[in-house]
Symmetry: C3
C-alpha cells in the first residue's frame, strides 16, 4: 500500500474528467474536491479533446448512459489512450439491460482502460458469470468472487476492482484486498460512483502502478467510511453522506494506517 | 391505512424505475434507498424494455422534461401498461408552460397511469381549473381542492394525490386525507418529487389497492417530516433534507401510528 | 449597499429561470429557495417562451454545456432581452476548452446580459488575459484583477462580478468590493454557480440597478458563508454546504450589517 499517494494527490490536485451519472454527479464532484482532486464534468463531444488534454485521468460512468453519451465516451476513451491518460470504467448496472451489456462490450474493446470498478453483479455480468443482481444492487451469487474478478482482469487486460464488504483488486494474477468499510456505503446512493472517481484520481498520481493506485483509493474511501460510521449511534444514510465528504477532506494517513486491514 | 405496507416494502425492496427530474434525482434516489426501495434512473429509450421488466413500478417526472425524454416516457408508459407495472405520474409545473400542458395531456391519454401526484396548482392545471400558481410553487386559488382532485381522478381514471399541508387522496369517489407534515417540506426542493417516487414504491407492494398505497406513502413521508421538524429549533432547510433521509430509514410503524392524523 | 433588497426578495419571491449545470442544480435550487426565490430549471427549447414569461430573471450557466443547451440559451437570451428580463451569465471553465470560449463569445454577442459572474480565470479568459487556470479552479495569474474585471465589463457592456477571496463588482468605471467570505467556498463544489443564481435573484428585485443587485448578492452569500464557517471547528466541506442552505434562510439584514466589509 502506498498511502503516500494520498499526500501526493493532495499536493498535485489532479484534474479528473468525469463522464458522469447525473444522479450522483454532485456527490462525486464534492467527494473528489474534498479529497484534493479537481473534478470536471463535461457532456459535449466537441470539447472532448481539450478536456482530455487538461485532465490527468478520466472516469467513464455508465449510470445514466444515453446513445449520445456513449458516442462521447468512445471519443474520449480513444483520446485518453492517445494521450496516455488513465481511464477508469464504471459499468453501472451493466447486467440490468442487454443494451448496457452491448455498450460496455463495445466501449471496452474500442479503447484500453486502466481500471474497471464495479460491484459483484456488475463484474460478473462483464464476464458472463452467473450472478443474481437486482437493479443497481450488488446482488448475490454462487460464483467465486476472486475468480470472477480475475477473469474480468484477464479478459480486458486491466486492473479490476470488485468492491463490496471486502474490496478485491486484481490484475489477473496479483490479488489485493481491502477489508475496511461499513454497511452504510450501501445505504448511500453513489458510493460506487464515488469510488470509481477516486480510483481515477489516484491513477492520476500513480501512472506507473494502477494496481497500487486502485487499492489505495479503496482503502482511503473504506477507511474514511469506517471512521465516519464508528461515530454514529444509528444508521443515518443522509448524515453519512455529508460526514463522508467532511472526513475525506480531513482524514490523515496516520488515521488510515491505524485501522487499515489490507492484504 | 395499511402501514404493514412499509414493512412489506422494506422486506421486498422493490425496484422503482424513475424517469427523473435531474435537479432532484440524487435526493429522490437517496430517499427511495433510505425507505428500503431500489431506485433506478435510466434515460435511454433503447433499454426501456429491460428497465421496465426488472422494475416493480415506474415514476414519470415532468420536472426537467425534454422532447427526447417525452419519447422515452411514451415508450416506457406503454411497456409498463403491457407488463402491468403501476405508473405514477408527476406533472411538475404543468401549468407553467403550454408545452408541458400538451405533453401531460398526450402522455396521460397514451397510457393508463395508476396515480397522479401533484400540488394544488398542478392538479388544477390538469383539469383546467382556475388556480394561481407561480412556477414550481403550489400557488393559491379559490377552487375547492377536493372537487379539483376528484375531477382529475375521474378524468384520468386513476388515483389522484393532491399534496399540500393536507394531502388529499382520491379515486374520484373515495376520499382520503393525511393531515401530518411540516411546512419545511416547502423549503426543501424536491419534496414533491420524492413523494411521487415513494408512492410508486408503495404501489409496487400493493398491486391490488393503489389508493391504500398512495395514502400510506403520503402518511409515511408526512409523518417522517413532522418528526424531523419537531426536533429542530429553527427552520433549517438543508438540515431538514439530510435528517429526512436519515429518518426515512429509521422510522418505525409504531412511531407513525402514534402521530398519524388521517381520514 | 442596499440590503433592503434582501427583504424585498423575501417578500416578492421572484422566479429565477436557470439553464443549469446538472452537477450543481439541486444545490443551486435549494440555495435559491432558501433565500426566498423560486427556482425553475427547464431544458426544453419549446417551452422557452413561457418560461421566460413567468420568470423575473434568467441565469445561464455553461457548466455542463451541450450543443442543444447552447441553442436553448440563444433563444432564451433573446426572449429575455425582448421581455426586459435581466440575464446573468456564468462562463464556467470558459478557459478550459476552445469550444467553451467560442460558445461564450457567440452567446455574449447574440444578446445583452445584465451581469457576468465568474472567477478570476474565467473573467480573464473572456478578455483574453494571461491567467493560469486549472480546470474549474480559479487559477493564479499576474494580471491585475481590477483591470481584468473592468475590461470585461467594458467589452460586454454589463456588470462584471469577479468573485474570489475578494469579490470585485464593476460596470467598467464604478468599482465595488466585498471582502467577506471563507475559504470553505472553494471546498464546496457549486459555490460559484450558486452565487450566479443569487445575483440573478437580486437583479429581479432591483431592475434599475444591477450593480447594487450584484454587490448585494455577493455580500449576502459571502457573509452567510463567513458566519457558517465561524461556527465550525474544522474544515468540513459537506457540513458547510448544508449549513449554508440553513443560514441562507435564517440570516438577517442585521447580522449581515454587523460583519459587512464592503467598498
Amino acid at each position: 500500500m502506498k498511502l503516500d499517494l494520498l499526500k501526493q494527490l493532495r499536493s498535485e490536485n489532479p484534474i479528473v474528467f468525469n463522464i458522469a451519472n447525473f444522479v450522483t454527479a454532485q456527490d462525486v464532484a464534492n467527494g473528489l474536491n474534498a479529497i484534493g482532486a479537481l473534478p470536471i464534468m463535461s457532456a459535449e463531444i466537441q470539447e472532448a479533446s481539450d478536456m482530455v488534454k487538461i485532465s490527468s485521468a478520466v472516469c467513464l460512468n455508465l449510470g445514466t448512459l444515453t446513445a449520445l453519451q456513449i458516442e462521447q465516451m468512445k471519443v474520449v476513451g480513444q483520446l485518453a489512450n492517445e494521450q496516455k491518460k488513465p481511464i477508469v470504467f464504471d459499468p453501472v448496472a451493466v447486467g440490468a439491460s442487454s443494451y448496457r451489456q452491448s455498450v460496455a462490450e463495445a466501449l471496452l474493446t474500442g479503447f484500453q482502460v486502466a481500471v474497471i470498478r464495479g460491484n459483484a453483479g456488475e463484474i460478473a455480468a462483464l464476464v458472463g458469470s452467473a450472478w443474481q443482481a437486482k437493479g443497481i444492487d450488488a446482488g448475490t451469487g454462487t460464483g467465486d468472487l476472486v475468480s470472477i474478478a480475475q477473469a474480468c482482469a484477464v479478459k480486458y487486460h486491466c486492473i479490476v476492482v470488485l468492491s463490496g464488504p471486502t474490496d478485491l483488486i486484481t490484475d489477473g494474477q496479483r490479488m489485493g484486498q481491502v477489508n475496511n468499510g461499513t454497511q452504510l456505503f450501501q445505504l448511500h446512493v453513489g458510493s460506487g460512483d464515488l469510488l470509481s472517481s477516486l480510483v481515477a484520481a489516484f491513477t492520476a498520481v500513480a501512472p506507473d502502478d494502477y494496481f497500487e493506485a486502485a487499492q489505495t483509493a479503496c482503502l482511503v474511501l473504506a477507511a474514511t467510511g469506517q471512521l465516519v460510521a464508528k461515530q454514529m449511534t444509528a444508521d443515518r444514510p443522509g448524515t453519512f453522506g455529508i460526514d463522508l465528504q467532511d472526513k475525506l477532506h480531513l482524514i490523515t494517513v496516520k488515521e488510515i494506517n491505524k485501522i487499515a486491514s489490507v492484504r
